[in-house]
């Protein structure tokens, strides 16, 4: 008896033209055609989108939660990356 489970896919939906595809969930499918067909049935029953991306979950790589500080904290003290850091005269317009 073949006990082979269909691979897992991550599903991304573009809600409307002009917006980016956003992750909505995952599902199992034997191949890409079935993954898109299933994504349509499972995730877009109520006009949730106009375009679907699927990617096999094994091809998705993520940062480690334990690296969160090392990766993202340094940005916190770089306030000079924001426009409000710069002192300019009040009379100055349109900048």
């Amino acid at each position: 008896m073949n006990q082979k489970e269909w691979p897992l896919w991550e599903v991304f939906i573009r809600a409307k033209q002009g917006l980016n595809h956003k992750h909505v969930g995952s599902l199992h499918a034997a191949d890409v055609t079935m993954a898109i067909a299933n994504a349509r049935d499972v995730y877009t029953r109520r006009l949730e989108g106009i375009s679907i991306w699927v990617v096999e979950s094994k091809h998705l790589h993520a940062s480690e939660p334990s690296d969160q500080e090392a990766l993202f904290d340094p940005a916190e003290d770089k306030i000079y990356r924001h426009p409000t850091f710069y002192n300019l005269p009040i009379e100055l317009k349109h900048m």
Binding site: Q3, K4, L8, S26, L27, D31, M34, D41, P65
Partner: protein, 316 residues
């Protein structure tokens, strides 16, 4: 500095920060969630059976498309929830195996038979109504994938209850026989719906931990009381009588009092001795077994297509 993992985990939960799949979590939290989410997923899947019984016998096309859409939603809800459970480290096949072997439970309400068309009304109104009471607070559950799945489920669920109530309303305003059918359905589904909230609080030993972890937001008895309070007015609009002689408004409590629940029946159904337990499990298992060749064929086809693409790449 040594940080206690368990303490910082609890602090996150206290601060309403969601836990995500790759974050550290206590083993017991993972296990409890797996049981809760998979039980919920199984309930959605088994829950399709009592209603599927009436799709081909719906009284008109309007009712038929609505019921079909509802059952399709339930399949979808099962899939969202299975996906959420899989992020906790169990495979889909393992989850299904637990359902098929009887190891995993599903909501005991689905072990009751659907004897008349009015049952489609009563299920939508009461069973989905009770489910919504349970599910809305779970949109804020501490585990991210579960909370996100529940937001989706709740958005879709409210049409289920409204379509059920509309069926009850039509029957109640119909002929004497139709009204009697609606009353009969209410009589049979009322107590099983009230039992859907689970055992009384003083008989629910794991509740305190689940509340602390925010995978349960309100107690069984609080939700049950809320359900009963809102149902009374809804039954009045229908002109139907809730089958409980002790149901009366208690001014001091600000709630309706009601009869003691028949916990013997509840425990019997959970133990596998409800009217349809065997029939439901048999239907689920045979669907899985009879679909095996289809699943295998799909894999074989996918493998063959992949090989063809590989060969083309090499040739190029």
């Amino acid at each position: 500095m040594e940080i206690n993992l368990e303490e910082s985990f609890q602090k996150k939960i206290d601060d309403e920060i969601r836990i995500e799949p790759r974050d550290w979590m206590p083993e017991k939290y993972r296990k409890t969630l797996l049981r809760q989410i998979s039980q919920h997923a199984h309930s959605e899947i088994v829950g399709m059976l009592p209603e599927a019984n009436w799709i081909t016998r719906a009284p008109n096309l309007r009712r038929k498309v609505a019921l079909l859409a509802k059952v399709q939603d339930e399949a979808g809800h099962g899939l969202y929830l299975y996906s959420a459970a899989e992020t906790l480290g169990m495979t889909r096949d393992e989850l299904l195996e637990e359902l098929h072997s009887g190891k995993a439970k599903y909501s005991s309400i689905f072990n009751y038979p659907t004897l008349s068309w009015a049952d489609m009304g009563a299920i939508g109104w009461l069973v989905d109504g009770a489910a919504i009471m349970n599910q809305v607070p779970l949109c804020r559950v501490s585990y991210g994938p579960y909370a996100r799945a529940m937001v989706r489920v709740c958005k879709e669920e409210s049409f289920h209850q409204r379509q059920g109530y509309e069926i009850m309303l039509t029957l109640s305003n119909g002929s004497e026989e139709q009204k009697a059918m609606a009353q009969d359905a209410l009589n049979r589904w009322w107590w099983p719906s009230v039992m859907m909230f689970g055992p009384n609080d003083d008989n629910s030993p794991n509740s305190a931990q689940s509340m602390k972890w925010k995978i349960k937001r309100f107690s069984n008895d609080d939700l049950r009381q809320k359900f009963i309070d809102v149902s009374v007015a809804q039954a009045e609009i229908l002109g139907l009588t809730i089958p409980d002689n002790n149901l009366k408004w208690n001014e001091a409590r600000g709630h309706y009092d009601f009869s003691t629940i028949d916990w013997i029946e509840f425990n019997e159904v959970i133990a596998g001795n409800g009217p349809c337990n065997k029939q439901r499990l048999k239907a689920i298992v045979s669907a899985w077994q009879n679909g095996e060749w289809v699943r295998d064929a799909a894999v074989a086809y996918a493998e063959k297509q992949a090989k063809k693409t590989d060969n083309k790449t090499i040739a190029a």
